[in-house]
């Protein structure tokens, strides 16, 4: 067992392209840490550097007390699950599981014992004689996990291991993964671009963008107190509503939304409100209010997602943020707003909805720096 320490880790590819920029991060022994970010943010590169599959351009990576910059992958006591599983297609499941142990000259009896133990844990007993080509996606995924776990590594690295599964299987495997990690207590670094996985799996999440660490914290903490606009927009689905506004003399104004806060310095700001914090409100609503024109509603069963627009400039901060993660802003000069309503409330498209928000649920970001000047 061992923790992992990144200290000023930088990876520069020829070009030069900086994939990871001065990453400093401690992963505690036994912790489940999620590296999350849009594609191309350097999260996989960071993981591959821990695995020893990429050279480190600057800085150090330590596993336990040992700096591993120049240690070959096989001597790092790590195991990795690849996005595409990378099972050895010419070997049976049993041989796939045993491969790492055999290479390490583990006695045959011990290999057999551990393979059958891990096969039992993952429900692979009946598949031991099959080859990867004869397995379903979910079974392959489990074999890939088994192959990594069977060696009882000090650090377990997972690179988007669930992204090739269908939605139902993904939910099942997510829970199974969490159970496994709780049970085994192996230090785990898990890379994903899926913020639902990030929120549900990790003890802590580290958000990366353009190779730079944006924020580290518990999922709820990152969700509630995003340090900057990027994190605010990336964590949460649908993402936080961001409206362009102005702060003058302790008053923040964005369209018809008004907020009193003497702590916000004067200047251009972005006002952020989570979709679930907007509620239909009457004229007597004490806090900030917005007139939302309903464009589209999406009934999801347990809730209704409303896509609408408000009188305010839409924040043009979504550049560089993964399009797959954020819904594209509408083309009008009005600001787009999404909100969640209870399942029975279905406003007609085209109608106007008056919504309010509690003042302490409004986030404010400095538009120039993107940094939060007020979180809830």
């Amino acid at each position: 067992m061992a923790g992992v320490g990144f200290d000023g880790v930088t990876k520069v590819y020829p070009g030069p392209v900086v994939a990871v920029d001065d990453l400093t991060l401690e992963v505690a022994d036994g912790e489940f840490l999620i590296l999350v970010g849009p594609s191309g943010c350097g999260k996989s590169t960071a993981l591959r550097m821990v695995a020893g599959l990429e050279r480190i351009s600057a800085g150090t990576i330590a596993i336990g007390d040992r700096i591993v910059n120049d240690v070959p992958p096989k001597d790092r006591d790590i195991a990795m699950v690849f996005q595409n599983y990378a099972l050895y297609p010419h070997m049976t499941v049993e041989k796939n599981l045993a491969f790492g142990l055999r290479r390490r000259r583990t006695p045959r009896d011990e290999v057999r014992r551990r393979v059958s133990e891990i096969a039992g844990m993952l429900g692979l007993e009946d598949l031991l004689g099959r080859r990867p080509g004869q397995l379903s996606g979910g079974q392959r995924q489990r074999v890939a996990m088994g192959r990594a776990l069977v060696r009882e590594p000090a650090v377990f690295l997972l690179d988007e291991p669930l992204s090739n599964l269908d939605a139902k299987l993904r939910v099942e495997m997510r829970a199974e993964l969490k159970r496994l990690q709780d049970r085994l207590g192996i230090t785990t670094i898990y890379v994903t671009h899926d913020q639902v996985e990030a929120m549900t799996l990790g003890e802590r999440i580290a958000v990366l963008a353009d190779g730079v660490l944006q924020q580290v914290g518990s999922p709820q903490d990152v969700y509630d107190h995003p340090r900057n606009v990027f994190v605010a927009g990336f964590i949460g689905s649908p993402p936080m509503n961001l409206l362009r506004g102005k702060a003058t003399g302790g008053r923040v104004v964005a369209g018809d939304l008004e907020l009193e806060d003497t702590h916000v310095p004067d200047g251009d700001v972005l006002v952020g409100i989570r979709p679930e914090d907007l509620h239909p409100a009457g004229d007597d609503h004490p806090g900030p209010r917005l007139e939302v024109r309903v464009d589209v509603i999406e009934p999801l069963g347990d809730e209704v997602l409303v896509h609408g627009s408000v009188e305010a400039d839409d924040a043009d901060t979504r550049k560089g943020i993964d399009d797959g993660t954020l819904l594209a802003p509408t083309t009008s000069d009005r600001g787009t707003v999404r909100l969640r309503l209870p399942p029975r409330e279905r406003p007609r498209p085209g109608s106007t909805l008056r919504v309010g928000v509690a003042p302490d649920e409004v986030h404010v970001f400095d538009e120039a720096t993107g940094l939060a000047v007020r979180t809830r």
Partner: protein, 279 residues
Amino acid sequence: MVERPRRRLLPFDPWHLFLAPLSVLMLLPMVWMVVTSLETEAQTFHFPPILWPGTLRFENYVSVIRQSAFGTWFWNTTVVTVAIVVSNIVLCTLASYAFARVRFLGRGVVYFLLLATLMVPIQVVLIPTFLIVKELRLLDHLGALIVPHLASVFGIFMLTQFFRTLPVELEEAARIDGASRLSVLLRIVVPLSLPALATLAVIQFMWTWNEFLWPLVTILTNQGAFTLQLGLATFQGSHQTQWHYVAAANIMSMLPMLILFLVAQRYFVRGIATQGLKG
């Protein structure tokens, strides 16, 4: 779009109308050779050619084996071919893996230069190679036939291109699992490359088995080092050719290749290298 079921006029693909006669045409020389190998010398000169011998007589085969050094030629050719095929598989695999996966200074340049030699015709290098072999004191020995062909640029090219198509994650997974470079090559890359290796083996076998020019140049006087192709040529004199013997000897010399092809055929099916990936 749903494909509309076509009404079929024929119980088979119309291409067969073109391909079937073509394959008969391709087979004709073979048939003629088989027939000739069963004929008497007089029958071989009959005009129009006899395409069915009437009786099966295998005396030509017996005569070829008894009267010539056919056994020696066959053995020599086998030794040379096996040595070259095996060494090509080993050396080309090692070189190709380096070109495909190991990063080293000048890799691209060396690979390019190597490929460029494919464009040099054999006639250009014949004399320099001959001189090198002479310096090595290999002339008139089987070594003269083996040494210059221990590795081939074609083999390196073919395997390099194939190795590049293998998913690199498999090798990364193996390295994390504790395999050395060589172990990755032997346990992961080679088993997944059997179709390519089988193809290379068959091609190399065919080239070496049928090679005529190089043995002709380097095996000067030593009849004990004759290969099949040199031996077959002895049946063809400048004044007369014993076609019935040529045909019988040719058929015997072709047998190993036919057998090899039938055996190796099953490896030519599509590889399985990507089956361990997402599904």
